[in-house]
């Protein structure tokens, strides 16, 4: 956010990768790509590449984390060492711990956790290539993987970011816009009700700009939701 650059991030209403301010990067979603997981998904979003695998519901370990009346969602977000320019030290760090936590919280709102007391649902997300917006990409992929695993839930949750670049509110920031832009606002919603299950904000937005960014991110989520549905329909060879 705080970085300085001479790059013109937006020029005549066109962004540096040729998109309009309200345009998403290209998204490709494939469900059911891994044999050993109960459910899985591979997602490409611009240059982001994410795998998600779901296991469960199964007995929760360690036992002290069990809830007597419901299941817990144990999400785990990791980035591959080769996913970024500077080699990333593998393993959990402060950032991935945070993302794992917020993803767990988001899914506990939609998954019917009350159907599986004492159980745990494991959601593993592996970022293979990162180019800004990986938490949204990972959450979206995990959502499709959960549906693919046959886990009952109220809805799938698409996630998409909006932000501010050169004083323009834009949808779905890319790497340069994320590094040198003025704000980043990742959002995840439940499409059927419009409820917000994840909302973060990095940078500065005026109240007006915030409203604008929320509307933009919401529309991005809805567009993404269609693609998620399409991916599942394709993988099961039916029409919804």
């Amino acid at each position: 956010m705080a970085g300085q650059t001479d790059m013109e991030l937006i020029k005549n209403g066109i962004r540096m990768d040729g998109r309009k301010p309200d345009e998403l990067r290209e998204v490709k979603i494939v469900a059911g790509v891994l044999d050993n997981a109960d459910g899985s998904c591979y997602l490409e979003w611009g240059n982001n590449k994410v795998y998600a695998g779901v296991f469960g519901p199964m007995e929760c370990h360690p036992r002290h984390k069990q809830k007597a009346d419901r299941a817990i969602v144990q999400a785990r977000y990791t980035m591959a060492p080769f996913s970024v320019n500077d080699r990333k030290r593998p393993g959990l760090d402060r950032r991935s711990t945070e993302i794992s936590y917020i993803v767990s919280q988001a899914f506990e709102k939609v998954v019917m956790v009350e159907d599986f007391p004492k159980a745990s649902i494991r959601v593993d997300m592996q970022v293979v290539e990162a180019h800004a917006g990986t938490r949204c990409a990972a959450l979206t992929a995990a959502s499709v993987a959960l549906a693919d695993a046959g886990i009952p839930m109220r809805d799938m949750i698409p996630s998409c970011a909006a932000g501010k670049v050169n004083d323009v509110v834009v949808l779905d920031l890319n790497k340069e816009e994320d590094n040198y832009g003025q704000a980043d606002l990742p959002l995840a919603i439940i499409p059927s009700t419009g409820e917000v299950v994840l909302l973060q904000l990095d940078g500065h937005l005026t109240p007006d700009e915030f409203e604008q960014a929320m509307d933009l991110a919401t529309s991005g989520c809805m567009e993404l939701y269609k693609k998620m549905r399409h991916a599942l329909e394709n993988s099961y060879g039916g029409k919804a």
Binding site: M58, E59, A68, M112, K118, G150, D155, M156, Y236, G238
Partner: protein, 223 residues
């Protein structure tokens, strides 16, 4: 009427959260929100005799009392066995529910880790734990043979209409086959027959949603 056409004709794929336009009562794979009925899983909806159900395409086995299943021993206690039945939790087999007279602490002599049984589920409680029994009908320990795991949602496909698919495999491979409701399938016979039956069953599992499956399996078995 072939089996395929009846399976594929009135099916409709629904995804989690989809609103179901129906006056029927909610069955399984369904949740209610603000008086309206939604699907909670990926599956095919089915609206008949006053109930709407969504039959999930994927998901773990959820035990029901009376189901005949195949269980594999994963742990032995002084008077119980813990059995893997492919559900969220392992099932308990108490020594009093077995057909043997087990001395305290001597459970492994009768059923060691890795041994399989044909059993019935006789208790499921609200907390999700369940117990199985060896004392019903034809329940027994399974000697020899091999176990193939298929998705429990595809068990009906493996069996076929009135057992058409499974008798096709049985007759063509000269094997003994028992299918647990949990998706564990026991096959016994000659080595190469088992391999062929296993291939057929795995093909059904992999292509359960495709059409013309019976013909494909017939062709596979003719080899």
């Amino acid at each position: 009427m072939s089996e395929e056409s009846s399976v594929t004709s009135n099916r409709k794929l629904v995804l989690p959260g989809d609103l179901m336009e129906t006056k029927s009562k909610p069955g399984k794979g369904i949740f209610r929100s603000e008086g309206r009925i939604h699907s909670s899983v990926v599956g095919y909806s089915n609206d008949k005799s006053g109930y709407i159900n969504v039959n999930a395409i994927a998901g773990r086995y959820s035990p029901k009392v009376g189901d005949k299943i195949i269980a594999i021993c994963v742990e032995t206690g002084p008077s119980i066995w813990r059995m893997d039945i492919g559900a969220s939790f392992n099932s308990t087999l108490h020594h009093s529910e077995s057909s043997w007279k087990v001395p305290f602490g001597d459970t492994a002599r009768f059923l060691a880790i890795g041994d399989a049984i044909w059993a019935e589920i006789f208790m499921v409680d609200a907390a999700g734990t369940h117990q199985i029994s060896l004392k019903k009908d034809d329940c027994r320990k399974l000697y020899s043979g091999t176990i193939v795991k298929v998705n429990p949602t595809n068990v009906t496909r493996v069996i076929g209409m009135q057992g058409s698919m499974i008798s096709l495999i049985r007759d063509n491979t000269k094997t003994r086959i028992q299918i647990g409701q949990n998706g564990y399938v026991w096959i016994d016979g000659e080595g190469k027959d088992i391999a062929l039956a296993q291939e057929a069953i795995e093909t059904i599992d992999r292509e359960a949603t495709s059409e013309g499956l019976t013909k494909k399996i017939e062709k596979l078995l003719e080899k």
